[in-house]
Symmetry: C2
Subunit: 82 residues, 2 copies
Amino acid sequence: MQIMEWLREPEKNFPPHKTIKHFNDGVCATYIQEKAELSQSTISTYLSNMEKCGLLIMTRHGKWSYFKRNEAVITDFAKYLL
Amino acid sequence: MQIMEWLREPEKNFPPHKTIKHFNDGVCATYIQEKAELSQSTISTYLSNMEKCGLLIMTRHGKWSYFKRNEAVITDFAKYLL
DNA sequence: TGCAAATATCTAAAATTATCGATATGAGTG
DNA sequence: CACTCATATCGATAATTTTAGATATTTGCA
């Protein structure tokens, strides 16, 4: 939940990436891990699971994995609750 | 989640109560328990927790506890996810 | 008042989840 | 192609959740 909130406003919650300046594909895993203060393996598993279940969209840029919210899926889920 | 879905349409998912004919206050705990096929204590705990956290509204009618969805809270939660 | 029905609470076990350290894999770079 | 950084996977353990049986409480009714 916390990660999903952070990713709603990447610019406000994360520093700009050293090589990729925009947030078009979201935030790289390392920054999320640092902010979450959980181990690398834990965050990697989280992000991977969240991507598998459709909540996040992952994009590889070289050695970095970027994650952003999958708004379409989130909207559908929110509607389903009603 | 399943219970929340059932309670979206009480008339379609539960029999009418023997003494109280309408579904204004939702469904009595026993019917939910029977449909869920879980023990009485389990369902009682579920419903109580769901009520405590605001998802359900409980109404006592004599010896029966009725439960219905708290649509306001559900709507707020759905919005929060977006 | 005493019994029965409906629900609530307590305690404990089995199952699942959260989390990490160690290790493996993938990718860029001199 | 060796080295390093970023991420992924594996295996294990601690913590939490799920669930039930036993028991307690509440309420209506004979």
